[in-house]
């Protein structure tokens, strides 16, 4: 039964953690893709920016959370979301809007967003240094150990406080986004614009507002994903290059322009990653006696080593582009 606890810790929990983060990131990417029609490479750095804002605020008011009983980092999250949303709108106004006004091809916007990536990365590194820093400045990271209700189960299921926050906030964000897109006037206008921008404009939808709202949502979601990731591990300014590929893979797997698909894609990529680096020998070892004698299991039965984790989203991306370029949920943009 210890093997089962090990499996839950290493696959179910860590897969859900990375899955949630990829899903929140991929929603932003897919929304931008469906409204602005380009792959926004600076998204992962907006995530880092959001986490950095939380780090700054937490360092300024380290004891703010203790009075309310939540970690300061989580308390500062709404403020960081607001700042990142403002940043996202500002980036659009300064960098992308002039390019769009020139009527450039979408790929030029992609290159522009790579430039923005570097600008953000440079700024963050300039102010934070290059090392990793914990977002738990004054608080203590709670770790919960749940014993399995089985006979002979000694290894507990381990889940940390930020992980619980991550799951709760992910569910809240997804439900809020669902209500926004389906119930509110603005959300419906957004979906109309993603279906057909000209028709939406002709029927009196202010496309400039929609673009701004899209950036605000994407920025706020990026801040959530970046902060929760940094709460779970540590804040590092160069996280983004490792996040870009899984997030884009998640968006494309789910079907570009399809927010619910992005959520599914995020979890597909997250679980695929953890399943691929999991050492299957742990699960097979208890059954060693029932195998034929000539079959000796190697001690390392992981599909890829942890250092090759990035291969997994790439492989998923290639597979989906080969067999189903529209994604699992038939995205609009290919």
């Amino acid at each position: 039964m210890n093997e089962l606890a090990f499996f839950i810790n290493n696959v179910v929990i860590s897969g859900s953690v990375s899955g949630s983060i990829y899903a929140i990131g991929a929603i932003g990417v897919t929304l931008i893709f469906s409204i602005m029609r380009f792959a926004h490479f600076a998204h992962a750095d907006m995530m880092t920016f959001g986490a950095f804002m939380v780090l700054l605020l937490t360092t300024l008011f380290p004891a703010a959370g203790a009075s309310l009983g939540v970690p300061t980092g989580v308390l500062m999250l709404p403020l960081a979301m607001l700042l990142t949303a403002v940043l996202a709108v500002g980036i659009d106004k300064t960098f992308y809007k002039p390019l769009r006004a020139h009527g450039v091809k979408p790929i030029v916007l992609v290159i522009g967003s790579l430039g923005v990536t570097l600008i953000l990365q440079g700024l963050i590194r300039l102010f934070s240094g290059t090392g990793g820093q914990s977002l738990y400045v004054d608080d203590r990271k709670e770790i919960f150990r749940l014993a399995l209700p089985f006979e002979g189960a000694r290894a507990p299921i381990v889940i940390t406080e930020p992980q619980i926050y991550l799951f709760v906030i992910t569910i809240i964000a997804v439900v809020a986004l669902h209500l926004f897109l389906n119930r509110s006037r603005l959300g419906k206008a957004m979906r109309a614009m993603s279906d057909n921008p000209e028709l939406a404009q002709a029927s009196g939808i202010n496309t400039n507002t929609i673009v701004a709202v899209t950036w605000m949502i994407a920025g706020a979601l990026a801040a959530i994903a970046g902060t929760l990731l940094s709460l779970d591990v540590t804040f590092k300014p160069d996280l983004s290059f490792f996040l870009l590929l899984p997030i884009f893979a998640a968006a494309i797997v789910g079907g570009v322009g399809h927010p619910y698909g992005a959520i599914a894609g995020g979890f597909v990529v997250g679980f695929a990653e953890t399943l691929a680096v999991f050492n299957w020998n742990v699960l097979l070892r208890p059954f060693q006696e029932s195998f034929p004698a000539w079959l000796e299991l190697p001690s390392n039965l992981a599909f890829v080593g942890t250092e090759y984790k990035i291969v997994v989203p790439f492989f998923i991306l290639i597979a989906i582009l080969v067999w189903r370029p529209t994604g699992l949920f038939k995205g609009k943009v290919i």
Binding site: I111, G115, I119, L126, L301, G305, V311, L317
Partner: protein, 441 residues
């Protein structure tokens, strides 16, 4: 373009337009400034340092030519130049480093070959099983069998490979080189980069251009991860040095002279590439490529095979990147997988191309040399500015500066590259030396 190849009168040579000769004032001015800058660097930093800078700039010029035909000729954006450069550097290392007797003298090569044979056999088996539906097996069942068999065989082969590579690492250090002249490595590096480019391009070029950028970004990180972690093949973080040069090395002739010879060697290669690319650009093939870039629909309507032409261009660009990476790796005389950074090997090249003039080979070479000089010189400049800022902050506000200001100053160059990219796209989208688009009046 109204004549198709078959009906064209062989005596008729198509002309784009009557070429209007103008005095190349802009080119002369820009290259004059560049020459002055190079001379200034020579005066300031000494001949050995400056020649080294010029050789590296020349290697970057080859990379930039590779990117300019992808981006400038065909409008494809490759965000993973670093990966192709690293492949070139790896091949240069693998072919030129002396033979490692501790590896070849033992049973290890046989073991490695056996595992590779297993791998080939496993692939053949899976391909054969995936054809089972032709014998009447239901397709879902076939897919299930293929997936399960694939996973099991993959695990079997990869665990065998892990055993052998661990044995190589513990007994022989690493595989070692082949002891061949470096240029063989450059050629194979170019071919390998072209092969990877073919794989990526084949999948992505029929889709939106954004997907190519995402996929190339991914493959670059994967190539780097592979080279960094395959200690048995590349010694990983322990790095391999020295790599022999095809020309007399610094030990025989001194730094300046040996580097100057290497520079002239590289210059000849650039001249050849430049000549061939210009021929191709002005040939019917080049016209077709530009027609596809400028108006895909009308080019398709004229019966041009768009995806095939795009694939040709993309592979050609990747070959040049692999070649340039090999020449750069040999010159550095050090193979360090961790030294390949997206900033230095992807975005710097991108800035060279879009600043110099995408689609204009002369402009690209100008951009490569100019940007590389700025890049190299920005290092002392950034340190100086940061020290100035720290001194100012301490003097005026009593600011207690963190101790790692120097590394932060170097990081600030990331910011400058990013600003350059966005500014050039916004204010000079055609670069300093724009492509000369001839038009019928």
């Amino acid at each position: 373009m109204s004549h198709s190849a078959k009906t064209r009168n062989p005596a008729y040579t198509p002309q784009d337009a009557t070429p209007t000769r103008r005095f190349p004032l802009r080119e002369l001015f820009l290259f004059g400034v560049l020459l002055a800058a190079i001379l200034a660097v020579y005066a300031l930093m000494g001949a050995a340092y400056s020649t080294r800078m010029l050789v590296e700039a020349a290697c970057y010029a080859i990379l930039a030519l590779g990117l300019t035909i992808q981006w400038g000729y065909a409008g494809q954006f490759n965000a993973g130049v670093m990966g192709f450069v690293a492949l070139g550097g790896f091949c240069a290392m693998l072919f030129s480093v002396p033979v490692n007797e501790a590896f070849w003298g033992t049973a290890l090569p046989g073991e490695l070959g056996r595992v590779l044979l297993y791998g080939v056999a496993a692939i053949l088996l899976i391909v054969a099983v995936s054809k089972l539906d032709r014998l009447g097996m239901p397709k879902p069942l076939r897919t299930l069998i293929v997936v399960v068999l694939g996973l099991v065989l993959y695990l079997a082969v990869i665990s065998q490979l892990r055993e052998v590579t661990d044995a190589i690492e513990s007994q022989a250090g690493f595989v070692g080189g082949l002891g061949l002249p470096p240029w063989t490595g450059w050629i194979v590096g170019g071919a390998l980069a072209g092969g990877v480019g073919y794989f990526i391009g084949h999948i992505c070029l029929g889709l939106r251009s954004d997907y190519l950028a995402i996929a190339t970004l991914g493959i670059a990180e994967i190539i780097k991860a592979f080279l960094k972690n395959s200690d048995w093949l590349t010694r990983g973080t322990a790095t391999v040095s020295p790599l022999p040069w095809p020309t007399p090395g610094p030990a025989e002739l001194g730094f300046t002279l040996s580097r100057a010879i290497y520079l002239s060697f590289t210059a000849v290669i650039i001249a050849v590439i430049f000549f061939l690319l210009n021929r191709a650009y002005n040939a019917p093939w080049g016209r077709m490529i530009r027609a596809i870039r400028d108006n895909e629909v009308s080019a398709a309507a004229m019966g041009k095979d768009i995806n095939k032409r795009r694939l040709e261009i993309f592979v050609l660009g990747c070959i040049l990147m692999g070649l340039g990476g090999g020449i750069l790796g040999t010159f550095n005389s050090l193979f360090d997988p961790q030294g390949y950074l997206p900033l230095n090997h992807t975005f710097l090249v991108l800035v060279m191309v879009i600043l110099g003039g995408p689609g204009n080979n002369l402009g690209t070479i100008f951009g490569a040399v100019a940007v590389y000089i700025i890049w190299i010189m920005s290092e002392p400049l950034a340190l100086f500015l940061m020290q100035l800022a720290v001194a100012f902050g301490e003097g005026t506000f009593g600011w207690d500066a963190p101790s790692n200001m120097d590394s932060r100053a170097l990081q600030a160059r990331v910011l400058v590259i990013g600003l350059l990219i966005t500014m050039v796209l916004r204010f000079a989208p055609k670069g300093l030396l724009p492509e000369k688009v001839k038009s019928h009046s």
